[in-house]
Subunit: 108 residues, 4 copies
């Protein structure tokens, strides 16, 4: 992640794109990339969505890459590491949705 961060930073600087990359704009760009991911699955059933065709798979890889790129650049504007934030959020979610309830539900 550190390497990706610095590679992205260099990529943007080399092209003089910093001024376009306000957090507001990066959030917009992120949402556009995610929609391109959604587009791959929109007319598939849930079952079909597990086994996408090889052409769509290449697109899927590209779009996952793009989403990670914009997420990393946006987080970097605030000195955040998205993996660290994911770990922190997962910890919160564990408290919010305790396993107990679900184990109990299994008996009902």
């Amino acid at each position: 992640m550190q390497k990706l961060k610095s590679d992205l930073c260099k990529f943007v600087k080399d092209r003089n794109w910093q001024n376009y990359h306000s957090p507001k704009n990066l959030a917009m760009a992120l949402s556009v990339e995610v929609a391109e991911l959604v587009e791959i699955f929109q007319w598939l059933t849930e079952d079909e969505s597990y086994r996408i065709a090889s052409k769509a798979f290449i697109e899927l890889k590209d779009e996952i890459g793009d989403v990670q790129i914009y997420l990393t650049m946006l987080a970097d504007k605030f000195n955040l590491n998205p993996i660290d934030e994911a770990n922190a959020k997962l910890k919160k979610n564990k408290k919010k949705y305790p396993v107990m309830d679900n184990q109990f539900n299994k008996f009902l």
Copy 2:
């Protein structure tokens, strides 16, 4: 990333949520989380978006975490690592947008 992946996998299994997590549904959930990120910035100017208030900052951290979580879970359905895909996509982008042009532009 490997640890996040296995932690997420355990989290989902412990709660019996696998059936909800088709790639189609994960893509939808990802788009909803990204919109919550966009919401933080929607009425701010680009300048303001660099310096968000401390309450919004906590929200920002949570939403960045959520986006990374869903992206990781979606990628994992296809045995993909989003960081690897980001590196591969960055490589493609470097070819697509060569630095030469931009350096040349500087002289115009």
Copy 3:
């Protein structure tokens, strides 16, 4: 539609919100409202999505209203009427996807 347009225009002016309503910001707000619509359906199967619960139905009505509101305000910035644009686009789509092919497909 004309009445909705002028009602929205008055609503925004009365609250002095014009400055926030750049086309860029309205497009962002539109995407956030659409995500709130998507959220209603994200964990439902396609079958379940036809018969949503009454609480979710009230939410659905609100979110459809919000999406129409932001779409109308955005279109109005360019003196466009979204219904007219829908009719024009439908005409284009009819040419792009002729019925013939599909009728033919039925015989295969």
Copy 4:
């Protein structure tokens, strides 16, 4: 709006696309079309977003049409008219954000 609704209904039936058009799928497709609208504005400043180029304007018209089309089709699955819902939501918003406060703010 009534005419648009019945035209869309016929368009879909003629092409045998009904099975793809679950509310869940239509909500996804709506979000993808909105992202194509957002894409037009993502790298523009707020000022620039008021005066988009003529090529982007044609795209804007198409995307506004697409968003209205999917919104109408989704609403129709629940016998809703998006214009009616917009009027109802505007009424709610007027109560939620009374003008009084803002008039008062003007004196501060």
